[in-house]
């Protein structure tokens, strides 16, 4: 308790407070701009933190991380251009809502769901970090393979379009993920002698292309008729009824996000995808997802922010980064001569609680920022498209180029944009493709690693209880609908009377 108080006392120190606020605001802005991700912003700020004391330095980076994950949702909702990969799932329902003139409601929900997810994961982190670190430590290649199989089992159902088309889209995503040098054989695949493709196709240009450029092309197809602009609706925040409806979704997604975040190297993007899919699975309006359901925003947003808290667990407790941004923050600890691990927990608990406090404050700040900003930003959805979309295009090109300062990435973005536009016209959604790309290398590499570890005997997966658990979940996810449907049909004659009474 004493350590917690000492930790939180950094919030009184004006210097620390100032850099945490700075980190939060920079985080929201950077997160919102497509192509600029929080991991990049943290990496660029890192060397400058050597001029600060360790506690405010790490606090600033942690606050930036939290806020950046939220920031991505703003552009995802307003212009269908997810500012960062974790916000991809937010665009599925957020953008249709904005188009319907409910941008404020969508943005407000994103802010609230993000904050609840982020706070819950922080509480879990404070209470149980060392215990949770043990879970993340027990995750090896076989467990990751099983988790990835579980993720892939969602492909058919992740968007409301035809399951067959979803599977084709997912397979296409997996194919994209095979480009580059294979981890276990060192063989170059589909690189065609382009050195930029050697480490695989970058995810961000694909994301920008599939979402923003594809939408831009679709918009170019629409004649700009004078729309009825009821600005009052657009800046309206979500109502209490909305919150009552999404409450279970937020809780579920916070749990999923915290868990996925704790797993080393699995970050917010996967958490958001799974959070979205589970929100859809358990929702009464599951079939309306993708057309602007508010649960479709709460699901991924609570999950991806919960994953930021979760990913700090293995980072601090084991020195194994829980996500790409956490890996950079790990570098930040090292710059200040701080070694993560059990040592940190035993000898420097104050620092630990300061990081919690900073992330906590960041959540509070971007809640305010998000709610006030929602009324302001939502006006973007009222800008006539003839002005809006050319600006978006410029933003996209800069974003795609900026990641690696490479024109190849701009080409990838354009190709992905045309492909996405064309695929959309024929009923293929972006969701399964993104899911395939995210899981592709994980499923392949973890299987290859597992097989070497198991001396090429696949039965030895049965020695790993966690893996078996995920295989069962995957089976459940694939078969629960037909099985439940069958059970219901079987039981209907007997339970018809009680149902009729309802």
């Amino acid at each position: 308790m004493e350590h917690i108080l000492t930790g939180f006392s950094i919030l009184i120190d004006p210097m620390s407070l100032a850099v945490i606020l700075l980190g939060t605001i920079v985080g929201v802005l950077v997160g919102a701009l497509p192509g600029l991700s929080s991991s990049m912003a943290v990496a660029l700020l890192l060397p400058f933190t050597i001029y600060l004391d360790p506690v405010p330095a790490i606090s600033m980076l942690a606050a930036l991380y939290c806020a950046g994950t939220f920031g991505g949702s703003i552009t995802a909702i307003l212009i269908n251009a997810p500012g960062a990969p974790p916000a991809a799932a937010t665009a599925f329902d957020g953008y249709p809502m904005a188009q319907r003139g409910e941008a404020g409601r969508a943005l407000g929900m994103a802010a609230v769901a993000s904050v609840i997810g982020g706070m819950l994961s922080l509480i879990v982190m404070v209470l149980a970090a060392p215990a949770l670190a043990r879970i993340s430590h027990s995750f090896g290649p076989p467990e990751y393979f099983a988790l990835a199989v579980f993720g892939l089992s969602m492909l058919a159902s992740i968007s409301g379009k035809s399951p067959v088309k979803n599977l084709i889209g997912g397979a296409f995503g997996l194919l994209i993920a095979t480009v580059g040098v294979d981890l276990t054989t060192g063989v170059e695949r589909f690189t065609f002698g382009v050195p930029e493709l050697y480490e695989g196709i970058s995810f961000i240009p694909i994301l920008i292309g599939l979402f923003a450029i594809a939408e831009l092309l679709a918009q170019a197809n629409v004649r700009d008729k004078v729309l009825e602009r009821i600005s009052l609706n657009a800046i309206k925040l979500p109502s209490v009824t909305d919150f009552k409806r999404v409450w279970p979704t937020i809780l579920r997604s916070s749990g999923i996000g915290t868990f996925i975040g704790i797993l080393p190297a699995e970050g917010s993007t996967m958490a958001a995808m799974i959070g979205y899919n589970e929100a859809r699975r358990w929702s009464k309006n599951g079939d309306k997802f993708g057309t602007g359901e508010i649960e479709g925003i709460a699901g991924p947003e609570a999950a991806n922010n919960a994953a930021t808290g979760g990913s700090m667990v293995p980072t601090l407790a084991l020195g194994i980064p829980g996500s790409a941004t956490a890996a950079v923050i790990l570098g930040g600890l090292q710059i200040h001569g701080i070694r993560p691990g059990a040592y940190l927990f035993e000898n420097q608990p104050d620092l630990l609680y300061s990081i919690f406090a900073a992330m906590f404050l960041a959540n509070v700040v971007f809640l305010g920022f998000g709610l006030v900003g929602a009324r302001l930003f939502s006006r973007i959805s009222l800008i006539p498209r003839t002005f809006l979309w050319p600006t978006v295009f410029a933003l996209c090109v800069v974003g795609a180029y900026g990641v690696n300062q490479s024109m190849v990435d701009v080409m990838i973005m354009l190709i992905a944009g045309f492909a996405g536009f064309w695929l959309k016209r024929y009923g293929f959604g972006a969701a399964p493709i993104i899911m395939g790309v995210v899981l592709g290398s994980l499923v392949e590499n973890s299987l290859a690693q597992s097989m070497i570890i198991f001396d090429h005997d696949a039965w030895r997966f049965l020695d790993r209880p966690i893996a078996i658990g995920f295989f069962l979940l995957a089976a459940f996810s694939l078969f629960y609908q037909p099985v439940f449907g069958w059970l219901r049909r079987f039981r209907r004659p007997r339970s018809a009377a009680s149902k009729g009474a309802k």
């Binding site: 981890l183 194994i320 090292q334 710059i335 070694r339």
Partner: protein, 321 residues
């Protein structure tokens, strides 16, 4: 913050002074323009972070802006072709790692070993043969025996990277059979080792100091010429008659045709910058010490030795041309 602004002000005034000076004195006023350090990865990660700190430390010495340019791709070949496209005037410095050397060995690389000249080394982290604390391999001898009788599952990073080449060079020299399991990062295969998924791994002290102290990991031998200060009781492979020396090194090079005088100015500034408390503190944070820092002569010869050692192994593995 104030500190930062102050040094920022100082920097700008120094830079302006340098600029003013260059306008009057003409020819050899190197450096009068910003210097870029080309890194082969995205921002974040050890090579990039080290380069950024070295850049800050060096610019304090030179009074001119030093910044990091990320050119990711092709195992360093995108960075190398970028450097090749720049004039050899000392304003473009490249950060290199063993990865660059092995990319050269694969062939079709934009630069070759003879095109570069070492300036200074920033980190040197020898690879240590490590097993789990409760492993039945008590010494490097036990491990070699087991590898001769059966197969050792060995963890490292990607195929063709320094971990892989080091493991395979060791296996060949000792006559062992090794089944190599590649992972994405050192932290991942360190975790795999402690779970018992793999039998042995080549790890750095920076990643494992706490586990060694706690007895979770047992270091069997160091792939270096001399014993490490941090592990005085652990033998080197060369003591055991195996001439295997591999290390996760990061250092800086320029194109060979860069004027000698400019190379010396850069070397001196980098070495002096790395003496600063900030850089030393960073080294300490990543588990290293001042022995990591080395000047042009030793660093350059280390690059060439590692290139040669990699060449033989890669030819055996069918990776080199």
């Amino acid at each position: 913050m104030r500190h930062w602004m102050k040094s920022g002000l100082l920097m700008t005034s120094l830079a302006t002074a340098a600029l003013a000076f260059s306008a009057t004195s003409g020819a050899d006023d190197f450096p009068s323009e910003p210097i870029e350090i080309v890194v082969h990865t995205s921002p974040g990660g050890g090579t990039d972070t080290t380069a950024r700190i070295v850049a800050l430390a060096t610019q304090a010495q030179l009074g001119t802006n030093v910044y990091v340019q990320n050119k990711k791709g092709g195992g360093g070949s995108v960075a190398m072709s970028y450097v090749k496209s720049k004039p050899a005037d000392g304003y473009t410095v490249m950060a290199i790692t063993p990865t660059h050397l092995f990319t050269m060995l694969r062939g079709n690389s934009p630069l070759d070993i003879d095109d570069i000249q070492g300036l200074a080394r920033a980190t040197d982290d020898p690879i240590i043969v490590m097993v789990r604390g409760d492993s039945r391999y008590k010494s490097i001898h036990d491990l070699i025996e087991a590898g001769r009788a059966g197969v050792i599952k060995w963890g490292g990073t990607q195929i063709g990277g320094v971990d892989h080449i080091a493991a395979m060079s060791f296996a060949k020299a000792a006559g062992m059979k090794v089944s190599f399991v590649p992972f994405d990062s050192g932290a991942e295969f360190a975790a795999a080792l402690s779970r018992g998924d793999i039998d042995a791994a080549g790890l750095n002290i920076s990643e494992t100091r706490d586990q060694i102290a706690a007895g979770d990991f047992r270091p069997l031998a160091v792939m270096a010429d001399d014993r490490m200060k941090a592990l005085p009781d652990v033998p080197t492979l060369s003591e055991k008659g195996l001439d295997i020396s591999f290390s996760t090194v990061r250092g800086y090079v320029v194109l060979k045709s860069t004027p000698k005088a400019r190379q010396e100015i850069l070397e001196k500034a980098m070495l002096k910058g790395m003496e600063s408390d900030r850089y030393q503190n960073y080294l300490k944070g990543i588990g290293l010490d001042e022995t990591s820092i080395e000047g042009a002569a030793d660093w350059d010869s280390q690059i060439r030795r590692m290139y040669k050692a990699g060449q033989e192994t890669m030819q055996d593995l069918g990776l080199a041309q």
